[in-house]
């Protein structure tokens, strides 16, 4: 299932969380979570609905401020860093509900992401045509992810699966070092799931990926490491075989979801 070569490659921790806690008005949604995300690996975060997976994503990307705990990205403490800054440092996320710019075309969506690293975002005195030099890079990404036929379509007019692919294309435009994907394949057809799985496997060779995924065969196929979350706490951790054999996981998660 998993490449022995990848398994053996010395792994570098790029994102880590220690003792992460998030309380919402007395209710503890995330409780004492420790995570280590490695360069070149795909890490799955699984667990039943309401387990706190999205909240963990929000904490790691600083869309939510943790109640307690510490987060480190590429060796720097980001526990108090604002979310946009975290993104600029190389940690980019997708959202559980597909996040595109609906009234922009597919190409414009990707170019929004390309604008920032190319330093073409604050120029209010330049014409729109100054963004033309981002076209080639945008189109290359669009082609790579199989969206070439939809380049000039409004994002709102794409099918659900294609919106998710566009979201990944936009995210990849930033060349993030750590990629957080919240249920990237939810609601997709079989064919699209296979394609997106391929894309993720490909991009993970040069970066770290943490993904929330319900499709366990995908998790078994492409993820090197699995963390199971239940009621905000880590229930089990390890590779897929270990985790899926764990009786606690079987009753808590596989029992109702698989």
């Amino acid at each position: 299932m998993i490449d022995a070569a990848v398994e053996q490659k010395e792994s570098r921790v790029v994102l880590s969380a220690r003792g992460l806690v998030k309380e919402f008005a007395g209710f503890t949604a995330v409780n004492d979570v420790n995570l280590d995300i490695h360069h070149g690996r795909i890490h799955a975060l699984i667990g039943p609905n309401g387990a706190g997976k999205t909240t963990v994503f929000n904490l790691l990307t600083k869309f939510l401020q943790p109640t307690r705990g510490r987060i480190e990205l590429l060796g720097s403490d980001i526990t108090r860093t604002p979310p946009a800054k975290v993104a600029r440092m190389g940690l980019v996320r997708s959202f559980q509900i597909s996040a595109v710019f609906p009234n922009l075309t597919v190409r414009e969506n990707v170019k929004i992401a390309l604008q920032r690293p190319s330093g073409l975002a604050r120029q209010f005195w330049l014409p729109l045509s100054s963004l033309d030099r981002l076209d080639a890079r945008a189109d290359a990404l669009i082609d790579e992810l199989g969206l070439a036929g939809w380049r000039d379509h409004r994002a709102a007019d794409l099918s659900y699966g294609r919106k998710r692919v566009l979201e990944i294309a936009t995210t990849l435009a930033l060349e993030p070092k750590v990629l957080l994907l919240d249920e990237p394949m939810a609601g997709m057809g079989q064919e699209d799931v296979a394609m997106v799985a391929d894309i993720i496997r490909n991009v993970a060779t040069e970066r770290a990926v943490l993904m929330v995924e319900h499709n366990l065969s995908v998790v078994a196929n492409i993820c090197h490491q699995v963390t199971v979350l239940q009621r905000g706490e880590i229930l089990a951790e390890g590779d897929y075989a270990t985790v899926s054999a764990d009786p606690r996981v079987r009753t808590a998660y596989m029992g109702n979801d698989a």
């Binding site: 604050r122 963004l131 379509h153």
Partner: protein
């Protein structure tokens, strides 16, 4: 994913073949109309109209293109009127320098107000801008340079660049028209620029823009300051046109009026606020000489328009079949 071949440009399939030429023709005819207008209408009425049209356009930069509803824009409009009037009358500055001071003052006020308000959302943002604008109103009421209820009166229009006598009604009109056109071109460029694209993305999906690394509050603040500066441009001009600056222009009613103009015409389009301002100013002019109470009638017109044309007059036209076939795009 790929496979099926769909027409790439399906959205524009119904466009009129000469849409672009027709759009340019509409702009040209409007410009020609504005150039000839002083032969048909009172210049002072036209200049008032242009000042408010620019004010509403500046306001729309914030509401329509940034998605922020400010309830304090009178502060920039009326504040700039005071600054310009004071500089020209007391310090003897040239009209162009006086207007630039008004713009700079309004931009500074915008920076302060924006920095305080920008973190808040929706109604809280509107309330903070209102509160700060009221604070500024009381400052203007108390400060000595504004001359309280009297305002700054008999402001000389002076000579533009030391050459063109602005006391000549026609010279003044073309000066105001030129500033108006420049103001609109600035807005046009601002909206259709790399910065404008980021503003648009923030309006479409703020969370996503943050996750792509954009510090959205800075972009919003940039738009706020630009909107304040252009409102100041309109206010400074108004002070020269009417040759006085008064408390009326810094009241909350003035902030309300510009919202009304913008919504009437339609937000998020360049033409909307201009048409809206034209309607309100014209209506006020007619009603001023009649028995009807101005505020009640404009209020009723506003209600009727909002009920009938949810997107504003121009917004509805752009969204209509004819508007679409001419290639006008209403924003979302």
């Amino acid at each position: 994913m790929t496979g099926k071949s769909e027409p790439v440009q399906s959205g524009l399939a119904s466009a009129h073949p000469r849409a672009k030429r027709i759009r340019i023709a509409i702009i040209m005819v409007s410009l020609a109309g504005l150039l000839l207008a002083p032969h048909l209408f009172y210049p002072i009425f036209l200049m008032k109209l242009l000042c408010f049209a620019l004010f509403a356009s500046a306001f729309n930069l914030l509401l329509g293109y940034t998605g922020l509803l400010s309830f304090g824009h009178a502060c920039f409009f009326g504040g700039a009127a005071y600054f310009t009037a004071h500089a020209v009358k007391i310090w003897g500055w040239s009209p162009e320098a006086g207007i630039l001071l008004g713009v700079a003052g309004a931009a500074l006020l915008g920076l302060i107000m924006g920095a305080i308000a920008i973190r808040r959302q929706g109604i809280y943002f509107a309330m903070i801008t209102l509160a700060l604008a009221q604070l500024f109103y009381f400052f203007c009421l108390q400060a000595s340079f504004t001359h309280g209820e009297d305002g700054i009166q008999s402001v000389p229009r002076g000579k533009l660049f030391g050459l063109i006598n602005l006391h000549d009604a026609s010279n003044m009109y073309y000066f105001v028209l030129a500033v108006f056109v420049i103001g609109l071109l600035i807005i046009w460029r601002f909206v259709n620029s790399p910065f404008g694209m980021i503003l648009k993305s923030i309006r479409e999906n703020e969370q996503r823009a943050i996750s792509l690394g954009y510090s959205v509050n800075r972009y919003k603040l940039g738009a706020f300051v630009m909107s304040a500066a252009l409102a100041g441009l309109a206010g400074g001009m108004k002070a020269l046109v009417f040759q006085f600056a008064t408390l009326t222009d810094v009241t909350w009613q003035m902030s309300g009026e510009v919202i009304l103009m913008t919504l009437l015409g339609g937000i998020g389009t360049l033409a909307g606020p201009i048409i809206g301002a034209g309607m309100v100013v014209t209506l006020q002019n007619y009603l001023a000489t009649s028995e009807f109470p101005v505020t009640i009638v404009t209020g009723l017109v506003f209600m009727a328009c909002v009920l009938l044309f949810r997107r504003g007059l121009i917004g509805e036209f752009f969204a209509s079949k004819l508007g679409r076939s001419l290639g006008f795009r209403p924003d979302s």
